[in-house]
Amino acid sequence: MSEKFKVTLDELFTYNVAKTIEDSTLVFHGVSSPIPMVAMYFAKLTHAKDMVYVGGVTSAIDPNPPFFPTTTNDWTMMQGRTAMITIDKLFDMAQKGELHRSFFSGAQVDKYGNQNVTMIGRPGKVKIKLPGGAGGCNLSGDCINYTIWTTRHRAPTKGDKKLYTLVDKCDFVTNVGHVTPYGTREQLRLVGKGPDWLVTELGVFDFDPETKILRLRYLYPDTTVEDVLNNTQFKPVIHPEVRVMDLPTREDIELMRKIDPLNVRKNEFPPKELERPFFV
């Protein structure tokens, strides 16, 4: 196929999230997670066929959802399942070290991968009450690894200052990254090993093994290191071999569109970002 096939940001983004999932692992997504929802099922149908797929908040095991709904706690997510477990059991599995991957986001993500989903401001001085972390505070400690995603890396300017999502320090730490206000994961003797990937609309990061600071690994075909630096409050590590990400195939994208006919994956993006043109 030599013709160019047009894809949109949500598709590349979801593909990047899917690629953080290894085969033969046990994987769960939480609430408010359209992109992980689609990415997990996509991974299960492509490179991670032996993944144990815990279908979100309903805790169905290996469902085949007819489509993805706009909420994570819907009977669509239980269709075609192999088994049901209960949420308390899911959290047990995590605490026991059996949950290999989950997905968390935040209104703020700091350089060590801590996330804030609780409040802008501080207790007693709340400026914006965010939705809350659901299971994130526990699972970010317990699951072996997790993927952070945010579709709001690009920092808008308000008056004379930029409003960063990737901040030097979170107003409030809900979900724990590598170095928390109370010490490192090792000092805290947490069960899991912490976040290993961050996917944003500007790039894909892992963590520098030494400093535990976010490290830029991949760019989109239309983003530069400078774009990333301009939209990040702290100075991320730049991987010496930073390059444009591997792109999905046309078949990958067709599959993604087929499994997500309501395009719930697009709901997470500011409309303007979806206009970015990509071709595979």
Binding site: P66, F91, P123, G132, G141, T174, N175, P181, L188
Partner: protein
């Protein structure tokens, strides 16, 4: 028992565990009745919720929220009544995390004073919970957080099926309902259907009668959240609700509460107001296959 009588058993200031979660099987009819009765300062607790908590904050019946998440997810976004109530200080923020609160319900259900958890260390959510304790584990030397039993004064749950004795058949996902029922001092259930005991026994209740104090028959008691297999969630109603909440607290009172809560005298009247049998038919149409089901999420 009537919904009015059941709601009257809940007192101002009670710690209330709310069943269901996000868009699913929330006891909304009970919350409307509590609003009509002018209940104040309820301390809501549970896992990840949405319409219920946002509604109750907007209705002014809440004094504290100990849920783990309140939003309309990526469908509509932040829960605006909840935000306003938290940001103004009207509601005390006791935000919790899912496993933490599950362990707190477990401790209550198991009759023990606390559960140890491995996580939450490093998170500032513990700042919202001065009641948590730390110990050095006598077995591992690890620093552990001990989270105390959380015993709701009452759990309010909407179940698919009940019999008159209180045996319940709740369909998956149970969310935390079965656990909350075991943790709470008192359990009040609204049920979509009351079925004969013999039929219930054949189905196999997942909550035995002696755990349930009161059952009220309330068809569409979870609307506008879903109560499968009877009805999917009413995205159109919630969309309209959300737009009203965007207009502010006053608009919420005049356009939503006055109409859907104070303006109706019974659940039957409410059902008529939100679209009657036509609407009921539409929300049951998810059963007609993938296309029909998708249509319910796609009306705009």
């Amino acid at each position: 028992m009537t919904l009015e009588a059941a709601a009257s058993l809940i007192k101002d200031g009670d710690k209330v565990a709310v069943g269901g979660g996000l868009c699913l099987r929330e006891p909304i009819a009970m919350l409307r009745e509590l609003t009509r009765q002018g209940r104040k300062n309820l301390h809501l607790c549970g896992t990840a919720h949405g319409f219920d908590v946002d509604y109750a904050c907007g209705a002014g019946i809440v004094g504290a929220v100990e849920e783990t998440h309140v939003s309309f997810e990526q469908d509509f976004g932040l829960a605006l009544n909840y935000r306003r109530a938290c940001e103004s200080g009207q509601v005390r923020i006791h935000e919790n995390c899912c496993n933490t609160i599950i362990q707190q319900f477990r401790a209550a259900a198991y009759g023990i004073p606390f559960m140890p958890i491995m996580s939450a260390k490093g998170s500032e959510e513990v700042l919202l919970h001065p009641e948590f304790k730390h110990i050095i584990c006598p077995f591992t030397g690890n620093d552990l957080i001990l989270v105390p039993a959380l015993t709701p004064d009452v759990a309010i749950v909407h179940a698919q099926k009940a019999d008159i004795h209180g045996n319940l058949r709740i369909e998956q996902p149970y969310v935390a309902d079965i656990l909350m029922i075991r943790a709470a001092k008192n359990v009040i259930v609204t049920a979509e259907e009351i079925i004969p005991e013999a039929e219930m026994i054949k189905l196999g209740p997942n909550v035995p009668y002696y755990e349930v104090a009161h059952v009220v028959h309330v068809p569409w008691g979870a609307h506008p959240t879903s109560c499968y297999p009877y009805y999917a969630y009413d995205r159109e109603h919630i969309s309209n609700y959300y737009k009203i909440t965007q207009e502010g607290a006053d608009a919420f009172k005049t356009k939503y509460l006055d109409k859907y809560v104070y303006g109706v005298k019974s659940q039957a009247e409410y059902i008529e107001l939100v679209g009657g049998s036509e609407r009921q038919k539409r929300l049951a149409s998810w059963k007609n296959g993938r296309e029909a089901w998708m249509e319910l999420y796609n009306y705009e």
